[in-house]
């Protein structure tokens, strides 16, 4: 290997092996919700006739598992990368991961056996109306178990950081106020901002779950609007933070491909402090259609969405472009994939902002535009960034490099598959095809055609992914032995 990025984290055997075990598990686990995704598009494309009754089970489980897996992988990647600067506890790391695996299995049980096909954010009152009584309890408990796992983990990471840095330092206040102080790498600052927001989200989820339990255990009827607010502060923000966790790592490692580094500074500190300030208000864009929300809240949602998105995304993309054009980049499989995924993150972000604009939302709300944009920044953005880092780590732990054909054939294959799949969502959105439809009525027959094309693209992606997964797993295994 020409250069090693992760040499310090790799030295830490406990953290390294725990990370590698989770990464391996996640690569395989990913195939489950990915297969559900393929099955959904096949049902919508009339390629599959017999499993229609399972569409909403697939939909729910797909969303939950995908968010669960990639959120956890982002946390694992962050923990691994942070161990260069601070010392997270291996014990807590393992406990959290185990809780998360249990939670994920419980959710699978609840959806398929307990019939809780509510959609991944289980909008009230759906969980009270469908599924079996046990399914309901297991479903809500699975969210609880996942939450506890993430909560313990986040607190442990913050503790590790707190042992070395003060709070104002980590938030970069000395940069903002132009005071002298110790240098704080962006990864620390972005991680702290994200972890704080994540802990808030988890506490909100706890309240949400308690309200559900209250309704199950007594005759209390919850307020639907409050429940919707709660579920979206939690769901929207957790998904959003998932991206930021990865961006934290990205700031640390992407510049290394050009032999440079992203230094912390005043602008960056201002951007991430303002993200911390407004990120909890952005979720209101999920409630534009709820006319009963006070109008002022809708405007707050509009501006907070722009604020949180534009600040972080634009700043990042400009930094990346400026960096790439001024440095001699080592364009290998990882760095290319990383660059593409930042681009996808931005494209998805722009598509999101378009939809978060109130007049546009009146047209686009709940069309396939929604899965189009969030798959762009989540799947081809955040998840793909994690995959590129996995590849770098796999090469470094095993000492085996990459073959030239990977850049020439594997990358285009993965890209072609993924973008074909995404484009079909966008086309659907532009033709007002609704999301979450099991089969499209004749009036929307374009939807069926798009779904069919998407299903074939997904197969293309799978072909590339299986090869990639095999290569990564082989390297991880070798790495764990050393």
């Amino acid at each position: 290997m020409e250069q090693t990025f992760f040499s310090e984290p790799i030295q830490n055997k406990g953290i390294r092996n725990t990370t590698l075990v989770w990464f391996s598990l996640s690569l395989v686990l990913f195939l489950v919700p990915a297969a559900f995704g393929f099955l959904m598009r096949s049902i919508q494309g009339n390629l599959l006739q017999d499993s229609h009754h399972l569409f909403y089970h697939f939909l729910t489980s797909h969303g939950l598992l995908m968010v669960g897996i990639w959120f956890t992988s982002a946390m694992a990647l962050l923990t691994f990368s942070l161990s260069k600067y601070v010392k997270p506890r291996v014990g807590m790391y393992i406990v959290s991961l185990s809780l998360i695996v249990v939670g994920a299995l419980m959710s699978l049980w609840a959806v398929f056996i307990g019939d809780m096909a509510t959609g991944w954010y289980f909008l009230y009152p759906l969980p009270m109306r469908i599924g079996t009584a046990t399914g309901r309890i297991v479903f809500l408990s699975s969210i609880g178990v996942l939450g506890v796992g993430w909560l313990l983990w986040s607190i442990d990471l913050l503790l590790a950081i707190a042992k070395k840095y003060t709070l104002p330092e980590t938030l970069g206040w000395h940069y903002i106020f132009g005071e002298s102080g110790r240098e704080v790498p962006p990864i620390i600052m972005i991680a702290v901002v994200s972890l704080i927001a994540i802990i808030v989200c988890i506490l909100i989820a706890v309240i949400l779950l308690l309200l559900y339990l209250l309704e199950i255990a007594s005759s209390v009827v919850n307020d639907a609007l409050l429940m919707k607010n709660l579920v979206f502060v939690f769901g929207h923000t957790v998904a959003n933070m998932n991206l930021y966790l990865v961006i934290a790592v990205f700031y640390e490692y992407f510049p290394k491909f050009g032999g440079g580094e992203f230094k912390n500074g005043r602008m960056l500190a201002i951007v991430w402090n303002s993200v911390l300030g407004i990120v909890l208000f952005a979720y209101f864009h999920h409630l534009y259609m709820d006319f009963i929300q006070p109008t002022v809240v809708q405007y707050i949602g509009q501006f907070a969405s722009y604020g949180a998105g534009v600040a972080a995304a634009t700043f990042t993309i400009f930094s990346v472009l400026a960096f790439v054009s001024t440095h001699k980049m080592n364009w290998n499989f990882s760095s290319l994939l990383l660059f593409i995924s930042v681009a996808m993150w931005t494209i998805g972000g722009v598509a999101a902002l378009i939809d978060a604009t109130i007049p546009v939302n009146f047209k686009m709300h709940n069309t396939l535009w929604v899965p189009a944009h969030f798959h762009t920044y989540y799947f081809t953005g955040a998840a793909t960034m994690i995959l590129s880092f996995m590849w770098t780590i796999a090469c470094e732990v095993s000492g085996a490099g990459e073959q030239p054909w990977m850049k020439k054939f594997l990358l285009p294959l993965l890209l072609a598959g993924a973008s074909g799949f995404l484009l079909m969502f966008y086309f659907g959105g532009l033709h007002s095809i609704p999301r979450r439809y099991e089969v499209y009525p004749v009036e929307l027959s374009e939807g069926t055609a798009y779904a069919k094309a998407a299903a074939y693209s997904i197969l293309l992606f799978f072909a590339g992914y299986i090869v990639f997964m095999g290569m990564v797993l082989k390297r991880f295994l070798r790495g764990m032995k050393t």
């Binding site: 042992k163 003060t166 704080i196 309200l211 307020d223 709660l230």
Partner: protein, 249 residues
């Protein structure tokens, strides 16, 4: 101390969430009033046809009532006087569910209530065999007290729009002005957000005063934003732990 405050807050929420509005009433909404025949002072008509002429507020009462009927109708009269000032076009129909009531009794009752705008208030009886049909259609139940011969019954206000469709049913003695306001606006097919009134069924972020069109922030807001405050405290606590020797400058 902390635990005490917390449980006090929790108890408050639990108490506030005991349901005050009934789903029961919603079951009878958005259906046509039953087509029973009614007898008014100098007119015999079908109730449905009567309601289709103009939006109607119906209340049930009986003339020899020694209980809530008179005080209830008197309050209703006073509260509706305000609506009449707004020049609303609805009519008020008081019908008896007592088999023993006659047209004369009901006119005596009208005299006792003595509404200002007599041309818009109607007092009458329902065809005896159809009393049950009507009361069942609006979820109104009453029982005969065999000792006193009185009928035990709840107060009721039924809002029917100009299509003869029941759009609101309110069954309580102290109907707030807000609730009444909603009734007489909705029966004229004005858009009235069907959201909670000041009395919440459970914890919510805000309540809506439909009369003033104003939102009132309520306890649920706390639920949304206390976690942020708690976490601020938690994070501050986390960062006040001892730093590893040597790294702190």
């Amino acid at each position: 101390m902390k635990a005490a405050t917390l449980s006090a807050v929790l108890i408050f929420f639990l108490a506030a969430s005991v349901s005050a509005q009934t789903d029961e009433e919603k079951k009878f909404l958005y259906r046509e009033v039953p087509d029973v025949s009614i007898q008014l002072l100098n007119r015999r008509a079908s109730l449905l046809a009567f309601c289709k002429e103009e939006p109607t507020i119906i209340s049930l009462a009986y003339s020899r009532c020694a209980g809530i009927c008179y005080p209830f109708l008197l309050t209703l009269r006073d509260n509706l006087a305000e609506a009449e000032k707004e020049e609303k076009k609805f009519r008020v129909l008081i019908i008896s569910f007592d088999e023993k009531d006659t047209q004369e009794n009901m006119q005596t009752m009208a005299g006792a209530i003595h509404p200002q705008n007599t041309s818009r208030w109607f007092f009458g009886t329902i065809e005896r065999s159809q009393i049950k049909t009507f009361t069942q259609a609006v979820g109104f139940t009453f029982t005969l007290d065999s000792l006193s011969g009185q009928l035990n019954h709840p107060p009721i206000v039924i809002g029917v729009n100009g299509d003869g469709t029941i759009v609101r049913i309110v069954k309580k003695f102290d109907i707030s002005n807000n609730e009444l306001w909603q009734v007489y606006h909705e029966i004229e097919d004005e858009f009235v957000p069907f959201y909670k009134e000041n009395i919440a069924t459970s914890i919510s972020c805000f309540t809506y005063d439909s009369r003033k069109g104003k939102f009132i922030v309520s306890w649920g807001m706390l639920l949304l934003y206390t976690p942020a405050i708690l976490v601020a405290i938690l994070v501050w606590r986390i960062f006040s732990i001892k730093k590893i020797a040597g790294v702190q400058k």
